[in-house]
Symmetry: none
Subunit: 226 residues, 2 copies
Amino acid sequence: METQNASILLVDDEPDILEFLSYNLQKEGYNVFRASNGNDAMKIARKVRPNLIILDVMMPQPDGYEICREIRRDEHLKDSVVAFLSAKSEEVSQIEGFKVGADDFIGKPVKPKVFLFRVQALLRRQGGEKEPLNRVFFEDLMIDKESYTVVKRGVTIELSKKEFELLILLTSRPGKVFTRDEIFRKIWGPDVIVGERTIDVHIRKLREKIGLGNIKTIKGVGYYFS
Amino acid sequence: METQNASILLVDDEPDILEFLSYNLQKEGYNVFRASNGNDAMKIARKVRPNLIILDVMMPQPDGYEICREIRRDEHLKDSVVAFLSAKSEEVSQIEGFKVGADDFIGKPVKPKVFLFRVQALLRRQGGEKEPLNRVFFEDLMIDKESYTVVKRGVTIELSKKEFELLILLTSRPGKVFTRDEIFRKIWGPDVIVGERTIDVHIRKLREKIGLGNIKTIKGVGYYFS
DNA sequence: CACACTTTTAATATTTGGTTAACACACCCG
DNA sequence: CGGGTGTGTTAACCAAATATTAAAAGTGTG
């Protein structure tokens, strides 16, 4: 749509974080606005109608949730993409977050690379809504292929790349049993040779992170997701 | 080994990269087309309607963005999946890329494994590599060769490898009586020697799991499925 | 180049499906 | 009726497959 650079509104009461995020975003060429409290945030939002609004959950006065609700109530803003920043400890609050209409959660501490990647994914969504959300749900599990995250019952779980690839592969066809060979070919490629136990180790880590029940073994055959 | 006859169009002005990617894709069984400039690309695209189009961003004449726009404008092509190739440095351009309707960005230098994995993911998105469901039905029984499971009246039953192989064999020709020798040769192979009772035990377990009625014995001859 | 992190290897433990063996049962035939 | 033959049942054993762990090797990053 717009040919101008995307505009992003950052809202956080901690100046350091504001500064840090803002720096990273500007480096990528985004048009960044800042606010340190809810009132300023709404004022700016109404004025510039940012493509993306990033809110810290924990703030005095109107907190992130409250601001988000207000945004969703505003005729001109309700279609904005809203992402929350939240510390790992208070992750249960994500449920609340999605209830008030959040589009994404970004865990603190923020890693620049991941952060920018997600911002990008969020902005992309904002444009063409026909784009199906690249998310898969399995009971209490949500897998977001865009942001490389897994959320289990509101708790964000960080996976390494291999772990994520493995999970994506297995969930691409729940119930299907993938043999070791198949897994090797699809994730490691046809000519990479690694030890047999490598997969087991990754499977183990995955189970450790997302819970044991979901990935099952059929001895002599392979693994599957259920 | 599944035959992935998805067709992929590669567009890049550097012959080396074209060759490299093409090699990797073909090795995986994809049907690869190449073009070294935008005009050729559009010509080929209109003719073969590839499932996936991979464009280098940096090209003379019409660059990747321009080609992508044209693809999105074309009635027959606008639903193709389009991925961009781009060097790490020019990341800002990704915003532009998503704006013109790109589905993914693949960073150069390209690593085969990652590349193939993403291609796979993209093709999956394209409309779900529809593979035939490997399922057989017998009255109240459904046998799913993919998941090594049997569903009986809605209840999923997990079978071990041997049990499953046995079931598959017997149901491959319902009514036909398989002799012990036949079963041994087909499941254990020609040179494996196991005791006579081994089959009985597996048959028993199968009967236990899927019900007694289905597998019948003809004394002195063998077993059959009805 | 030190640090943090991911991936792989290697060594060890544990699990479980497959097999066996011993025995029970059913049926046929003299 | 009793021995013969073929199959059913059971539990115990074993080895292969997998799980687990820690440490080494590889990666990127400041």
